[in-house]
Symmetry: none
Subunit: 213 residues, 2 copies
């Protein structure tokens, strides 16, 4: 597996913010996407280790501030490389209230959401938010992760899904191959001894379809 | 609420493919994002009405082909504006087997996933996939939705979360619109004066398909 393929996925650069018992906080995120149009919903993925995750769980609301290519790149560092538990990130970044939520002033649009569902993964929570307020703040182009990476020369914080550690794996292959999808059988039971109703786990075609290679 | 804010979210342009009982099929999607890095997982959002949704549910696997700026834009129309239930989309789009899945040849990277979780919304399923194979196919820049919209002048298919009904789009007085994919002709030559063999640059349908609006 070549994890560099993940770098070809396109993202924006966002500040996901929430209230922490009356104090505004937030974190940098790349993973936000619209899920449905009516009613409008947005999904964001936030690491369990991000203090913002806890704040969203507690308050049930989050705001996505969409940074533009002209946004001050230091905002990304302020929100991305330190914890909102110990630092008042909004002390150095101006915000205004939109849909009752703190939104970064220096952004080109914002979307305020009410959490209506979530999905847990090993390291991140995917929050599904129903949009309760949204507006465009400027006609500047949104900053893409590629722009940030290539132009601003940013780096992913460790908690980001886009973070890539050094190690990569490879795998070995063997003999019986599905004639439709090319799936290679690698089970412990010899292929010949598999039951006659065995089917390809990928394309569901019957055992006869397999060829020895 | 100003839904134009949603247009400031950044996306790529992807073909999400699956096996349909031994037949390769798929659909165009914008909504794909990495959720975790170890183990690597990817979320994609697919409309309930897309036949590909059923195929992913049945087979438990999907592939994401990441289109590049150089990819033939007609691929987007082929996979985005017709149903895989009735059309063999891969008949006109070359694919190769990667991780036992059909992957669009004319793309810059692919990611193959095994479904490990999902979240239902009113119109879309968010599939969470564990990455089982991934690779970079070319060093071309990935196509972003903004590039597609601004350069290729594409439009969202109706099933896409990024779809915005006609009423909210900025309106010109009179325009020629492709009856299949909704592409709006904006060339300098008056539409009537275009050669008879003119075809829609997105879905490749003939001139007669265009309607005046």
């Amino acid at each position: 597996m070549n994890t560099n393929a993940f770098r070809k996925l396109s993202y924006g650069v966002y500040i996901v913010s929430a209230w922490d018992n009356g104090r505004a906080t937030g974190c940098t995120a790349n993973s936000a996407m619209q899920i449905t149009s009516t009613p409008a919903t947005i999904a964001v993925s936030i690491n369990h280790n991000n203090y913002t995750n806890k704040c969203i769980q507690d308050s049930g609301r989050f705001a996505v501030s969409i940074l533009s290519e002209q946004s001050d790149p230091s905002i990304i560092g302020t929100f991305g490389f330190q914890s909102g538990e110990t630092v008042n990130k909004f002390d150095s970044v101006a915000y205004e209230l939109k849909g009752y939520m703190p939104v970064v002033k220096d952004s080109c649009a914002y979307i305020v959401c009410e959490v209506i569902d979530k999905m847990e993964t090993e390291t991140h929570t995917v929050f599904l938010g129903k949009v309760v307020d949204a507006d465009v703040l400027s006609d500047q182009d949104p900053m893409t992760y590629a722009y940030y990476h290539n132009v601003v020369k940013g780096k992913s914080p460790k908690n980001a899904p886009t973070y890539i550690p050094e190690a990569q794996e490879s795998k070995a292959t063997e003999k019986w191959v599905c004639g439709i999808c090319g799936y290679v059988y690698e089970g412990d039971t010899p292929f010949e001894e598999l039951p006659e109703d065995y089917t390809c786990p990928v394309c569901k075609q019957p055992k006869e379809i397999f060829v020895k290679k």
